[in-house]
């Protein structure tokens, strides 16, 4: 936690640090430097706590324990259970398109802009260990098939933003914005009914930034224009359908959505990506503010 930075802008404090493989920012409309420091410490501590607890790269956490149980049942704590419950809900809401067991497919897919498309046989073998419906999940006890894995990375960052918002609200009533790598939320409107200006990077031939005003709530963005494969003129997006093991066709490059909480915004944008060509139609149905390209 030595990487914490705090600087004063003209009417707010900007704190920054790195966590969850992303640049993290905390914008605080407070006058007092000590208070800003407190908030920044609290947010950074919570971000690191969640990263440490749920990262699949850690070999000493609950995710590692679940993924290496070799078919045995693992009892999980309440917070993990809530995240798994939520993920299970999403699995059902998305008819199986959102699946925390789909991470093993990354063994075959490496979206490095090359033409390295995997063999269908390899995908078929991996698919035998994908599918939330194969998991036994009863009263905080989870049992995976051997070689199955779960990955809460798809919800972790957005969850961390919302948790930090809850924590900051207990420290101050003044407006604070928490931004973890483009997934962001605010605690309350700014003074004088003001807003935070948020820039959204529009990728394309020439990158540009669109600015918009966020008064309250959250924004999350899904998509990454740099992660794809190109073979025989076909562009394979990095959005994988866990039911087929192959990329979804026609996904937008990026989708941004506003919602009351970051987790809602993030999951709606993720589900939109999974709709492929129907992404925009899906977003219209949700009656939310969105940006797509």
């Amino acid at each position: 936690m030595t990487d914490l930075k705090l600087i004063q802008e003209h009417d707010f404090w900007r704190g920054s640090f790195a966590a969850m493989a992303s640049p993290c920012e905390v914008l605080m409309e407070v006058d007092d430097e000590a208070l800003a420091k407190n908030i920044l410490h609290a947010v950074s501590a919570e971000a690191h706590r969640i990263e440490h607890k749920f990262s699949r790269y850690n070999d000493n956490n609950i995710i590692f324990k679940i993924n290496n149980a070799g078919g045995d049942t693992v009892k999980v704590d309440d917070e993990t259970a809530r995240l798994i419950d939520f993920s299970a809900n999403l699995f059902q809401l998305s008819d199986g398109l959102f699946d925390i067991t789909s991470g093993v497919l990354r063994k075959a897919w490496n979206f490095d802009a090359s033409d390295n498309v995997p063999e269908p046989e390899d995908i078929a073998i991996l698919l035998s260990t994908v599918g939330w419906h194969k998991v036994k999940w009863i009263n905080n006890n989870i049992t995976l098939l051997p070689k199955m894995q779960i990955d809460l990375g798809g919800v972790g960052k957005e969850y961390a933003v919302d948790r930090c918002i809850q924590i900051v609200r207990e420290i101050t009533r003044q407006s604070v914005l928490v931004n973890f790598g483009g997934d962001l939320a605010t605690t309350s409107p700014r003074k004088n009914n003001g807003f935070w200006s948020v820039g959204r990077l529009i990728t394309g031939k020439e990158h540009s930034v669109a600015l918009f005003q966020l008064r309250k709530g959250a924004i999350a963005t899904s998509g990454d224009a740099h992660r794809y494969l190109l073979k025989d003129g076909i562009r394979y997006s990095h959005v994988l359908n866990p039911k087929t093991g192959w990329p979804v066709k026609g996904s937008p490059h990026t989708v941004s959505i506003t919602a009351p909480t970051c987790i809602e915004a993030g999951m709606l944008s993720t589900l939109a990506m999974l709709q492929g060509e129907q992404a925009e139609e899906f977003l219209k149905l949700q009656e939310v503010n969105y940006w797509i390209n």
């Binding site: 419950d85 809900n89 999403l90 809401l93 008819d95 009351p260 909480t261 987790i263 589900l271």
Partner: protein
């Protein structure tokens, strides 16, 4: 995947994940939910009337805990049947304190009109979230009036299963009650005496201990339906008489006894004896409730079957139907109750059969409390509620209660226990503070 609108469902799932009831409530601090009410209860004909203000307040605390508090004040005046029955002559009774008397006109059901009391009851429940799926509620209650004090504690454990669709509940309550009647405890099955004679008394006070166990299950059936089934077992040990209730002693002609020990002029004994009930009672009940949401309206129905070792069984049906109007609602209520008599319930004691000439009552137990008789109660009510702003509601209800003793077989029809007609009027105001 078929495209569908999932925003609302997503929002609820996120609320569960972040442990907030709804995402929009995140910003609000914890507040008191307050419900206040005043109830007027009147039986008419100079019988009991009551004025009862009450207040309830509950709030969520940190870590999923919750506290609920309540206070009721119950001011009673009026008369209640004393258990003797109407005769063709005027009857005179000694007041419970022994230093006064009251007279009932010929043909009237004798009522003790010295009855007035103010009761204060307070209670608190603390609910703790033990873990994500289980809760423990600890409660304490105190009720006090000039001749009665009740102190109780309770604990209820509830655990959710099946994605929180099933809740199993286990509860235990202990109550310790102190009965301290005016003028002391009447000697059981001994004659009432004239106000100038030494009272038949058996100490100043007594106690009873009540233990209740409950196991229950609540099940969400579907998006619109929830059901609950409880089984409860209650044990009461100790003093269970009503110290103000008596029975008439009659001779074979149906007249009040006036010979031997009941010759009031020479013995000072009136032809009435104080009741006696067993000092233990085991109560059981099976309770079923369902709440169902129609398109707009809500129905709330319950049925209780009760049985105990005093031979009383009862059936209770209760139905509330909430008609949702544009903003407000109208809620008719119907309740039907029927009970069988306690095995020792009797309308009077027959000289020579139930009581010998020396005044010894030959029965183990006897009571003519109308509440232990075979009876039925019908309640019809209507409630109207209207929201007052975002978090407040004003409501009022009126209910009519008719209670009928259905087995007056061994007394002449004219002397049967009269029907009880009562009216309840209540105004509620609930708000968030």
């Amino acid at each position: 995947m078929q495209l569908k609108k999932i925003k609302g469902q997503m929002s609820l799932a996120a609320g569960v994940l972040l442990q907030v009831s709804s995402p929009s409530s995140q910003a609000q601090g914890s507040e008191w939910d307050v419900d206040s009410a005043v109830l007027l209860y009147s039986e008419g004909d100079g019988r009991v009337s009551a004025f009862e203000p009450a207040i309830y307040a509950g709030r969520d605390l940190q870590y999923g805990d919750r506290i609920d508090l309540r206070l009721v004040i119950d001011a009673l005046t009026g008369a209640t049947p004393n258990g003797a029955y109407a005769t063709s002559q005027a009857q005179t009774f000694t007041t419970p304190s022994g230093n006064g008397s009251y007279t009932t006109k010929a043909g009237d059901t004798p009522q003790d009109d010295t009855f007035h009391d103010t009761r204060v009851a307070i209670g608190a429940d603390w609910t703790m979230e033990l873990d994500r799926l289980s809760k423990l509620t600890l409660g304490a209650n105190l009720s006090t009036e000039y001749d009665y004090t009740s102190l109780g504690i309770s604990g209820t454990y509830a655990r959710d299963f099946n994605n929180r669709n099933t809740t199993l509940t286990a509860g235990l309550a202990l109550n310790n009650d102190l009965i301290k009647p005016v003028g002391g405890l009447p000697a059981e099955l001994m004659p009432m005496v004239t106000q100038d004679s030494p009272l038949n008394r058996d100490g100043d006070s007594d106690t009873k201990v009540i233990t209740d166990f409950l196991v229950g299950i609540t099940q969400v059936v579907d998006r619109k339906t929830i059901i609950q089934i409880n089984f409860s077992l209650g044990l009461t040990d100790g003093y269970q008489n009503d110290p103000y209730k008596i029975l008439s002693v009659v001779d074979t002609n149906g007249d009040l006894a006036s010979t031997g020990i009941f010759n009031t002029g020479t013995t000072g004994n009136l032809p009435y004896v104080y009741e006696k009930r067993p000092d233990s009672r085991q109560r059981n009940s099976l309770y079923f409730k369902t709440v169902h949401h129609f398109e707009e309206d809500v129905i709330n129905f319950s049925y209780r079957y009760y049985w105990d070792d005093w031979d009383i069984t009862s059936h209770t049906l209760d139905l509330k139907y909430r008609y949702q109007l544009a903003e407000s609602y109208l809620q008719p209520h119907i309740r039907y109750y029927m009970q069988s008599a306690a095995e020792f319930h009797t309308h009077n004691l027959l000289l020579g059969t139930d009581v010998d000439t020396a005044g010894n009552v030959l029965l183990d137990y006897a009571s003519n409390d109308y509440r232990l008789a075979e009876s039925e109660t019908l309640t019809l009510g209507l409630k109207y509620g209207i929201p007052m702003g975002e978090n407040s509601e004003l409501s009022m209800r009126a209910e009519m209660i008719r209670q009928t003793v259905t087995d007056d077989s061994n007394v002449p029809a004219a002397e049967a226990t009269p029907d009880l007609d009562a009216v309840v009027l209540q105004v509620n105001y609930s708000f968030v503070w």
